[in-house]
Amino acid sequence: MAKAFSVQRQRGFTAIAIGCFFALYLPIIVLVFYAFNAGESLSSFDGFSLRWFARAFENQQVIDASLRSLQIAAVAATVATIAATMAALATTRTEPYRGLTLKYAFINQPLMIPEIVTAVALLIFFARIKIWTGYSGLGYLIAAHTAFCIPFAYLPIRARLENMDLTLEKAAADLYATPWKAFRYVTLPLLWPGILAGFMLAFVISLDDVVITQFVKSAGQDTLPTYMLGQIRRTITPEMNAISTVFLLLSIGVVTVFFFVNRKRV
């Protein structure tokens, strides 16, 4: 590789890249730094303190919104992962059949449409249903989140399936395993890392969503991101930084696990 180095060199690229990494992380680091500020300011540091974390953890609105976010993400990611696993089994390891392209297009559709358009569509649609049924619970948010989580859960599961050939399942069938048994004891264990990765992506995507939630939620159904969006428009204290820091840690934790689960495959 020592010889290849000079061939790969492009002047200034390394400097831009280092600058890019610096710029990506500087704002986040500043944000986290001021979460520990003893004072009210976001630009002058008056000493280390955990008071804003304490304040956030005592804030009933923050607690409610966080629990609601986690609840929605858990249900939506679980349902989306199950549906996506089934869909992935149905769309991989086969000769092309009629409707296969349509299925791809349909499953990936939530990725293609701008979020704001889906949000508006759901606002209109669910407003009607709310009038007809009188139900205004969390069901709407969960349904919406499940739908846009499906393509994210689907991607890693499909990728994993495509790397598994059918010989093992055929061997199981040769040994008189029922299709269910072959699935349960052969396919599922092999597919598991993909399913886990899909679930984690779906979970993070649901947790992060702002736009669709903002339009679909009824009064008093703030999730953590929509609560934060509302707060940003008012006076900002380091409490927001503290909430963001905890949120960031959660996301980074999930992404790190995802990264390693996914890496084992290669």
Partner: protein
């Protein structure tokens, strides 16, 4: 599936039926909570606005006319809706600039990662992936804190005595641009990296053997080879940028609107759901055109980026 025809056909059609059953839950959920409602938006765009939001069930083209034209309140003559046109232009302009800037920064970054030794490459890639999966709202908020009048940049410049009063950076188009470049940068780097990773450096070497300068190698060899990544990254940045809502509404402060905010306005204070619906469909059509361009240019090569 390599067997000859015969009784296999029955088995095959059973297999296909099973595959439809398996995909049914996913398809149904997306139909009910994502795709289906889009048709209702199309329907609503042809109705009359209701007095308190919602719609009245009377056919009307007003929503669509309102996308680019406005009616004079006195004599009902139509003229170009300057406000809407300028929002369209601002959205398109800001999205294009975001795409170009992320490409200018993202290309060297992806190249840098792709030319690292195998082991450290993973780490650099991981560093790009983290912001990619962390909350867009939090990342926008981080930018907000830095460019506020009381933020880090202004405080620093004042302390250094370079400026007397804080520079107004927040609530400008520039702020939206900086914010969008910041939040969408990973979307550019990842597909670029995916195609650079497969770059055959023997071709680059051949270029140098033929006395090409580094710039010429970049322009005539590297860029053509990674074009699918460039197209994929540009589309992945341009589409969400065009429909951006969170970043402009935080950094633009409600005064500097983009298309996403204009749409929201029609469903909020504007109380003009048909106009909002027509604007949504318009946005969707622009995105479709962009996607078509992508499919034409990248073909199946880009399909794996979803």
């Amino acid at each position: 599936m390599t067997q000859p025809a015969g009784p296999i056909d029955a088995e095959q059609s059973r297999d296909i039926r099973k595959r439809w059953l398996l995909s049914l839950p996913a398809l149904l959920i997306i139909l009910v909570a994502a795709s289906g409602p889009l048709l209702i938006v199309l329907l609503y765009s042809f109705l009359t606005p209701g007095p308190y939001g919602d719609v009245a069930w009377r056919f009307s083209l007003e929503g669509w006319i309102g996308v680019v034209l406005e009616k004079d309140i006195f004599d009902d003559t139509l003229s170009l809706a300057d406000a809407h046109v300028s929002i369209f232009l601002r959205s398109a302009g800001l999205s294009l600039m975001t795409t170009v800037l992320t490409l200018l920064v993202g290309f060297p970054t992806a190249y840098f990662i792709a030319t690292r030794p195998e082991r450290s490459r993973e780490l650099w890639l991981f560093l790009i992936t983290i912001p990619f999966w962390t909350n867009l709202l939090i990342r926008t908020f981080a930018i907000l804190e830095i460019i506020r009048n009381e933020g880090l940049i202004n405080t620093l410049l004042i302390d250094l005595g370079l400026i007397g009063r804080p520079m107004q950076m927040l609530f400008t188009d520039g702020a939206i641009l900086v914010g969008m470049v910041y939040v969408y940068l990973p979307l550019m780097v990842l597909p670029l990296y995916a195609s650079m990773e497969k770059l055959d450096f023997r071709l680059v070497e051949a270029g140098y053997d033929l006395y090409a300068t580094p710039f010429r190698v970049l322009r005539r060899i590297i860029i053509p080879l990674v074009k699918p990544g460039i197209v994929a990254g540009s589309i992945l940045v341009f589409i969400p940028a065009l429909g951006a809502y969170v970043t402009p509404s935080i950094l633009g402060g409600g005064k500097n609107l983009m298309l996403g905010n204009l749409i929201e306005l029609q469903f909020g204070q504007g109380r003009n759901w048909p106009l909002g619906s027509a604007l949504s469909i318009t946005l969707m059509l622009i995105v479709m055109v962009a996607l078509l361009f992508y499919v034409r240019n990248a073909g199946s090569q880009g399909a794996r980026h979803g």
